[in-house]
Symmetry: C2
Subunit: 234 residues, 2 copies
DNA sequence: TGCGTGGATATTGGATCCAATTTATCCAAG
DNA sequence: CTTGGATAAATTGGATCCAATATCCACGCA
């Protein structure tokens, strides 16, 4: 008797994204992306086109287009005639993403900071407060992303911002490990508050230094945790 | 009488890429990407799926998958039920790409520099020499890209390097304007030589500063040229 | 004469169908 | 019992077909 195929529970993503898009392709792409980033579809999972199509209630074609887009975003890998697989997470990959964030985010912040409005700063403060009250890692990632992007939003560089947001989102795949790696949370909030204060003062150098440290601190903690974990399981 | 449809001369890309790939999708994606980056398919051009399929000798399906990948790389835009268009170039977009390069490349260089070998440095020197003898902008872009990537190659961060190479390639769309913006070439070569010298000395701070200046200098020249040009035509 | 409406046409988006390749299974031989 | 190979099943890649949507142009009307 063969093991029953793992039921893909994508209902969350379906109801959240389906009404927002005009084409099935874009809907499937958005839903799959969130499913991967949130960990519903773990690294290494083979993505059977037929199965996904059934789960989303569409044919295989929009699934294929969506998978190609996710391939370009380095979230899935294609192996010719063998199909697509969710890319694995690893300490190396986490470091890779952190290096990219540490390069992009200070640049975005420096361009954005002079144009931040009082409203932007107030929104950022609100988001920090919301994070204090939030326990769910998924929502937490969303709030964290919005906090950071609020500070970068006035950079006036669409491509730079899109890349930054992509890699902030990519970091979400490691969020649950950050939670597991003991209470990173309160420290992270202190860093958020310090960063916001520097932005309020218009101190670009300090703000950039803080955001860089913030990213690298999280990465170091995460790398240590993932390395230990890999050593145990391997 | 309607104007004859513009014949897409993609023969260069076809013969260069066709044998390198196992699936039609990947072949079409690589060929289209190069056609856009090299300027054979200019910004604003509507990409008719049927026409491309005929030009490549395949059906519409691999074309669609390729277009989706290029969309994720911000080289084409989809408009629902109206098709894909090559994204326009502009002074703003050039500045955007430069900002990304100026963020990524010093980071890559700093990680890579300590691990550069004698052979890497020799190869970089060879590439500078080749550039001196090269007049064709297309080949020039390729050599320039290889020179830069040679210096970054030992960073040990696949995602960071892939992003860097993508945006080096994206800058190629503006290469012919850089040539037009009077002889940028010799100055650029001086900068390349200085950068290589700093790498030889293992002076990371100086190398990073030089590569940043190199990128921003090219951008300033380009922005001025494109702005003037836009003012004339507009 | 200008503008809005309606139908024809072109083109995309999605579904189905077929071919090519890989993986799994089973049997035989060592 | 293991290993090799042939064959069958599963799955992807590609082509074709159909439906949905947008654009274009003619026509009618103010």
């Amino acid at each position: 008797m063969t093991t029953p195929p793992p039921i893909l529970d994508l209902s969350q993503m379906i109801e959240r994204h389906r009404p927002r898009f005009r084409t099935a392709s874009e809907f499937v792409e958005a839903a799959l992306r969130e499913a991967i980033l949130s960990g519903v579809l773990p690294g290494g999972l083979p993505l059977r086109q037929e199965e996904l199509a059934a789960a989303f209630g569409v044919s295989r074609m929009p699934v294929r287009e969506a998978l190609r887009q996710l391939e370009a975003r380095a979230l899935v890998e294609f192996h010719p005639h063998r199909g697509a697989v969710v890319v694995e997470i690893s300490a190396q990959d986490a470091a890779d993403i952190s290096a990219i964030r540490a390069a992009l985010e200070p640049a975005a912040l420096r361009l954005s900071l002079p144009h931040l409005t009082r409203d932007d700063l107030a929104l950022a403060a609100d988001l920090i407060a919301e994070m204090d009250a939030e326990a769910d890692p998924g929502r937490m990632g969303e709030l964290n992303r919005r906090f950071h992007m609020t500070l970068y939003a006035r950079a006036g560089r669409p491509r730079l911002l899109a890349l930054t947001e992509q890699h902030l989102a990519a970091a979400d795949r490691y969020l649950r490990f950050q939670f597991a790696a003991l209470a990173h949370h309160p420290r992270s909030q202190d860093e958020h508050n310090a960063l916001l204060a520097a932005c309020r003062n218009g101190d670009a150098d300090r703000a950039c230094a803080l955001v860089t440290r913030h990213i690298l601190a999280a990465e170091e903690l995460l790398t240590r945790f993932l390395t230990v974990r890999a050593a145990h399981s391997g």
